[in-house]
């Protein structure tokens, strides 16, 4: 069975249907990319998978690692191995980046019945991961995301990804707003994390990211549905022709 298996998913927000019959299966070790015009429901999908409460699932089911994902609280999904790098990471004043990450690491370990990570070991891993994604030490001491630049926030999400070691990582436009060096650093970090056990779902608008992280599958999402799936070349086709042909298909 696929690691992530979405069948006939319908999601409404405030009475309006945003996801309208979506199917998607992701196997362990695979990298999938989802592309689609603004407002097509990509972030909505990501949030529903991560467990945000203000979305109403009106039909369909989602299985993740054999479990009914929609039954679980957000923190239970995280403990199971789901991670969402958010499009707009939130600021938490008064809570240092490092402190937050340590709480998160230990919360996941606790939920899995593992002992807390020793502070020395945590700091060692944190420094390594920070170096890899290009986060300055000073940023680790600052309040979580408070006053971080757009690019710093995105890198910080990848830092969390590296530290929390999920089974499935969803990256919602992590590449948007990154300069070319940052993009390469993020891509390198993601590639380093690619293993046969770990899957990625990349939400992006740009083919550029997929030059660095080569996907196994590319899906085109329009109006709350996946209207076309293909190999990595599909992204190139999109780059050339835009979404216009698909919009018509959807209509």
């Amino acid at each position: 069975m696929a690691m992530l298996d979405i069948e006939g998913l319908h999601v409404a927000v405030g009475g309006k249907e945003i996801i309208r019959g979506l199917d998607l299966a992701v196997e362990a070790g695979e990298v999938h990319a989802i592309m689609g015009p603004n407002g097509s429901g990509k972030s909505t999908l990501a949030h529903v998978l991560a467990g945000r409460e203000d979305y109403e699932v009106t039909a369909g089911r989602v299985r993740f690692l054999g479990q009914d994902l929609l039954e679980l609280e957000p923190e239970e999904r995280a403990a199971l191995g789901l991670f969402l790098a958010m499009q707009y990471p939130v600021e938490i004043p008064g809570v240092s980046n490092t402190y937050f990450l340590r709480q998160a690491v230990n919360a996941l370990r606790k939920a899995r019945g593992e002992p807390e990570m020793k502070p020395a070991e945590f700091m060692k891993r944190l420094r390594e991961a920070a170096r890899q994604v290009g986060i300055r030490e000073e940023l680790l001491r600052r309040d979580l995301n408070a006053g971080f630049s757009g690019g710093e926030k995105k890198r910080n999400e990848i830092l969390q990804l590296a530290m929390l070691e999920p089974k499935l990582a969803i990256l919602d436009e992590t590449d948007s707003g990154l300069d070319i060096d940052a993009l390469k650093a993020v891509a390198a970090a993601v590639n380093a994390l690619r293993t046969p056990e770990r899957a990625f779902l990349l939400i992006t608008h740009y083919q550029r990211l997929l030059n660095f992280i080569v996907p196994d599958r590319v899906h085109v999402m329009v109006d709350g549905r996946i209207v076309r799936s293909g190999g990595k070349d599909l992204a190139l086709e999109l780059e050339e022709r835009g979404y216009e042909p698909f919009l018509q298909e959807a209509a």
Partner: protein, 481 residues
């Protein structure tokens, strides 16, 4: 999907953890208050004539006074004749050594997490244990005596250091200062006394742990701390009470005096029983706390974390008399369910180049009401005085209220007074972000709220910051869903 609301309901079934009653035989004075009762209390404590008179004088003043009504708190009238003004565990004499303490009382403090011991957990802290109306033990007295530091119950101080008590008692909070201070002056039972001699830096935290146990009683403790020239002391006060359906009155007075270049740091973690989720029971906490920065460059710093009590009425203040003296007030006041808090500070600038800083963090959840009330008064002679006030409120849910009532009076043109205030709501986005990273809901709430309070929590002595952080989390359980 089990909703957050359900999860939260399960957590709220957990009760106030400190609400047990100790089965100890207590001697209680029958309810009611008149001059006879005051003489009786004074006699029980073997007090000198001057103190009995001082009490009676305060009582006569009190009878002419009225309960303050200006605070934003509501409660049915208190029947002062229905309260018992003295309760003490029965014991022939105050135990000479820590080993002689009643095992039940010993167990009580163990359950509260502050065992009466001079080692291990509390190695860096000397504690005075006040059980209902009396102090039952004080640790590390010998060690402190070697440095000339006096740390004892106020009853002992009256006996052993009458000159100091007589000189300073009521010098900062006069007996007729306000209704509750007058009542306290008339009936105060016990509390702590600290004197730090010139030039001495007190090497450990001094702490008093107040416990109300007996039913139908009030607690009226009195604390007096004097830091002589160039000395330093850090003092911490903690408190809990059993869960009872009726309200209990706690009307304390705390006086601090800092002489030239002395510094007093006074921290409180207030966790009196707040009442149940329907608003039944809980402590009425009507407290007068005031510090006098009497000397040149003296400093008094109040830090409070207020999570308990049904009603809190409390304004730890600084009179900045000495030139270049400094007053600070760092406060976290958290209210949940039906709690009401009206708390803040007064900074009175008298001396030249005096400075004060106020950081207040109010958190309101449930149906609670949380008011910051603060006065900054700059007198004519306070040349170059400065104040900065930062006042932030955080609302959890939409049935609670947060209010900010600043009073500013400036009589000197060279003074600079700044006031900043913000109000925000606990954000769903923040909670979701934390949970998506693996933090359970209640931990997420605690994390965000602790972040909101960080500036204040950082002021707490290390030993207690961890406890206080946990306490904030526990007090908020059930507030989100």
């Amino acid at each position: 999907m089990s909703t957050a609301v359900e999860t939260v309901k399960q957590i709220t079934e957990r009760e106030y953890q400190w609400g047990f009653v100790t089965p100890v035989e207590e001697e209680t004075v029958p309810p009611g208050l008149d001059e006879e009762v005051i003489r009786l209390i004074s006699r029980k404590k073997g007090e000198p004539e001057w103190l009995t008179e001082w009490r009676l004088e305060a009582f006569r003043r009190w009878k002419t006074m009225e309960e303050p009504r200006w605070a934003r708190v509501h409660y049915p009238p208190i029947d002062y004749q229905a309260i018992s003004y003295f309760a003490a565990p029965k014991q022939k004499e105050r135990p000479k050594s820590l080993d002689e303490i009643d095992p039940e009382i010993r167990r009580t403090y163990e359950k509260l997490g502050i065992p009466i011991r001079e080692q291990e957990i509390l190695a860096g802290v000397a504690v005075d244990y006040v059980f209902d109306s009396v102090s039952v033990a004080t640790t590390f007295k010998k060690k402190l005596e070697e440095l000339g530091i006096i740390f004892c119950s106020i009853s002992e101080a009256v006996r052993d250091h009458p000159e100091l008590v007589r000189k300073y008692l009521g010098s900062v909070v006069p007996p007729g200062d306000n209704f509750f201070a007058a009542l306290n002056s008339a009936v105060f039972s016990d509390g702590s006394f600290v004197y730090v001699p010139p030039g001495v830096r007190c090497p450990m935290e001094l702490s008093t742990y107040f416990r109300i146990n007996a039913a139908g009683t009030g607690q009226f403790e009195r604390t007096l701390i004097i830091a002589d020239r160039g000395s330093y002391v850090s003092y911490l006060e903690g408190c809990t009470a059993p869960m009872r359906d009726e309200n209990q009155l706690h009307a304390a007075v705390v006086e601090l005096i800092a002489l030239d270049e002395a510094e007093i740091k006074y921290s409180t973690v207030q966790n009196w029983y707040p009442g149940d989720r329907e608003g039944k029971g809980g402590i009425y906490n009507f407290v007068t706390k005031r510090g006098l920065c009497k000397g040149y460059r003296s400093k008094i710093s109040w830090t409070q974390v207020e999570t308990g009590s049904a009603i809190t009425w409390k304004y730890p203040s600084c009179i900045l008399q000495g030139d270049e003296s400094v007053g600070e007030f760092y406060s976290v006041a958290l209210t949940n369910n039906f709690q009401q808090a009206d708390t803040g500070t007064k900074m009175v600038h008298i001396g030249r180049r005096t400075r004060s800083r106020i950081v207040s963090k109010g958190i309101a959840a449930g149906r609670s009401q949380n008011t910051y009330r603060g006065l900054v008064r700059i007198l004519r002679g306070a040349e170059g005085a400065r104040n900065h006030t930062q006042c932030d409120s955080l609302l959890i849910g939409d049935r609670c209220g947060a209010h900010t009532v600043p009073y500013i009076e400036v009589k000197n043109r060279s003074a600079r007074v700044e006031h900043e205030a913000t109000t925000s709501k606990l954000s769903e986005e923040q909670l979701f972000y934390c949970r998506a990273r693996g933090l359970p809901l209640e931990d997420a709430v605690a994390l965000v709220v602790n972040g909101f309070c960080r500036e204040v929590m950082e002021e707490l002595p290390m030993e207690f910051a961890v406890e206080a952080r946990k306490l904030l989390g526990i007090s908020l359980e059930g507030s989100v869903g």
